[in-house]
Amino acid sequence: MSSLRQLKPEEPWQAPEGEPIIRIENVSKRFGELYAVDGISLDIHSGEFFSLLGPSGCGKTTLLRMLAGFELPTEGKIYIDGQDVTNVPPYERPVNMMFQSYALFPHMSVADNIAFGLKQEGMAKARRQERVREMLSLVQIDKLASRKPHQLSGGQRQRVALARALAKHPKILLLDEPLGALDKKLREQTQFELVNIQERLGITFIIVTHDQEEAMTMSSRIALLRDGRVEQVDPPRRLYEYPSSRYAADFIGSINLIDGHVLSQEENRVVIRSEEAGGDLEVIHSQPLLAGTPVTLAVRPEKVRLESGDAQLANRVSGVIKEIAYLGDVSIYHVELATGKRIQFTQSNVQALAEQPLNWEDEVVLGWPANSCGVLTQ
């Protein structure tokens, strides 16, 4: 997992006096009997690259469509720039959207597509052409101005859609799975470009995605959604390192989840007795926990190390390697403990074609420090 953006000292969501550019207040959307969005409240600040992340059917697209004005909330209020826009039609909202299907007008040229929103504003022709040129060069498709959408590749269409949505210089850009239709290589390249454009223009981006890697790479903050509710809202690093629930831990990256119950807590050092691990485990946790509370210990595979003898690792388990997956840069090992529980750990492949240090059915001792794992109570 990597983040494309520098960690900035100022984090607008931390400042209590900062007025959010978007305030979603207890918004619900019901389709028939089903709640697609179920009481979501979120504050999004100016200049953020905010991701709505979740599996399909979690309500992320419905929430985005309510921000654009295509759906009206069943309950709750939406404020943009301090103004109540809950019932304002889409054509009067200061937001623009980039559609998942791009929704380019097939009967208009690329330039006409980009100029469409400006025409609605009544912008003079000369200024309009100037702005279209500016947008074309922003997304690097200067030569395609007179083409029709059906004469473009998927990647080029995606750029036209972005240029069209940015042409009116909106304060907020909504992006519905903007990279979903691109192949992996192009997607990675476009991620960088999106972040660059967002930082250059200073526009607030709200992006819907089901791809956790995409959300991790680009976002300033991620809202993880589940069944129409917000599970956790945090910057990518925090979401990865300190997931607040089993669901969040499992959704982002891979993780080992070991069930047990609290045995004791001294200051912030918690001892967990786990039948699955076949022993006691230690973890640093600041919140007080009652002895006997059922908890789950969560540790990422890259934090689990091979016990080399001298290292002081608070937690140790031993088992037999059952599976090895070679991914090129790293290998993933599945180790079966005596209790039958499987623990994953990864190792970087530092040397090319080095003799494989670990093999199937090798007995290994694994360990991890108490401060690189977490406790989940839900």
Partner: protein
């Protein structure tokens, strides 16, 4: 055929060959007959025209082509005005069919999906009654003491019956009524396929609903407008039954004229040349449209 695999090209040739064969046998060949008759001399005989190629004396063959009919069509103002009259009636009827049919097709395409089929059935339902009977029914509605006049007098809007039957208005009513389904169906087919996210995209960019219709829906439904318009315009130019039953003596349409030449005047060559001219007149806009479409695609 046994043991002989059907190659893809032969398979394709076979499939394309069937409609070609059909068109050749039932369209091209009869048209060539008509063309041949149009170039011959009328006589009082059975059939009432002379063959183009005749054996005059033993072994001597004479070929005579008579372009007189075409010359007559050009010179006699009757035929010209009948042709232009037909084109005018056809154009106006097509326009009204489109004006009435577009909102109908639009409403059906936007109706909840479980309503669409029943609504389409209502459009198609009149086809289950004979065309002729439906046109006759209009006589009952439009005549002096017909349904329409009785209703208008009863409601106090008029006190003398309106004279509608046997006027051009009656012909327009009959044509628009009869041909309306032919514009509704193709228009529905294009409107129901329209990607509604395009309208959302337009709204998102600040376009109001009425302008969305003008800038997105209407241009993208033009193929349906053209297909529906053609389906009305072309058959109406040659329409015979409706002007004959509902129109008056002054409603001059080429279909009626052709009927008169063919059956009353027994002038087969003249009637045939009328048919040939009509076909050419109708083919020109088609070819122009094809040309225009192909240019559009290559741009």
């Amino acid at each position: 055929m046994k043991g002989l695999p059907l190659s893809p090209t032969r398979g394709r040739g076979l499939i394309i060959g069937v409609p070609w064969f059909w068109l050749g046998l039932f369209f091209l060949l009869p048209f060539l007959f008509v063309l041949k008759i149009s170039l011959s001399e009328p006589v009082l005989a059975q059939p009432p025209y002379l063959d183009l190629i005749r054996e005059v004396e033993d072994g001597l063959v004479s070929i005579s082509l008579n372009f007189g009919n075409y010359l007559l069509l050009w010179e006699d103002p009757l035929y010209r005005s009948a042709l232009f009259g037909s084109l005018k009636i056809s154009a106006i009827s097509t326009l009204f069919c489109l004006l009435l049919g577009y909102p109908m097709a639009y409403a059906i395409a936007r109706a909840p999906s479980h309503w669409r089929l029943p609504l389409l059935m209502l459009i198609i339902l009149p086809f289950w009654t004979s065309f002729l009977i439906r046109v006759y029914a209009w006589i009952g509605i439009l005549k002096g003491n017909g349904l329409l006049n009785n209703f208008l007098i009863w409601s106090g809007l008029i006190d003398q019956p309106l004279e509608i039957l046997h006027t051009p208005l009656a012909v327009y009513i009959g044509i628009v009524y009869s041909y309306l389904p032919f514009v509704v169906l193709p228009l529905y087919a294009t409107l129901v396929r329209l990607d509604l996210t395009l309208l959302e995209a337009a709204a998102d960019l600040g376009c109001r609903p009425w302008k969305q219709f003008l800038t997105i829906t209407l241009p993208l439904s033009l193929p349906g407008v053209i297909a529906g318009g053609m389906l009305v315009f072309i058959p109406v130019v040659g329409e015979f039954v409706i002007p004959d039953l509902l129109g008056g003596p002054d409603t001059l349409m080429i279909g009626k004229l052709m009927w008169t030449e063919f059956f009353s005047n027994k002038d087969w060559p003249l009637a045939s040349s009328l048919a040939a001219v009509l076909l050419v007149v109708l083919i020109i806009p088609f070819v122009a449209l094809r040309h225009f479409e192909q240019r559009e695609e290559t741009i």
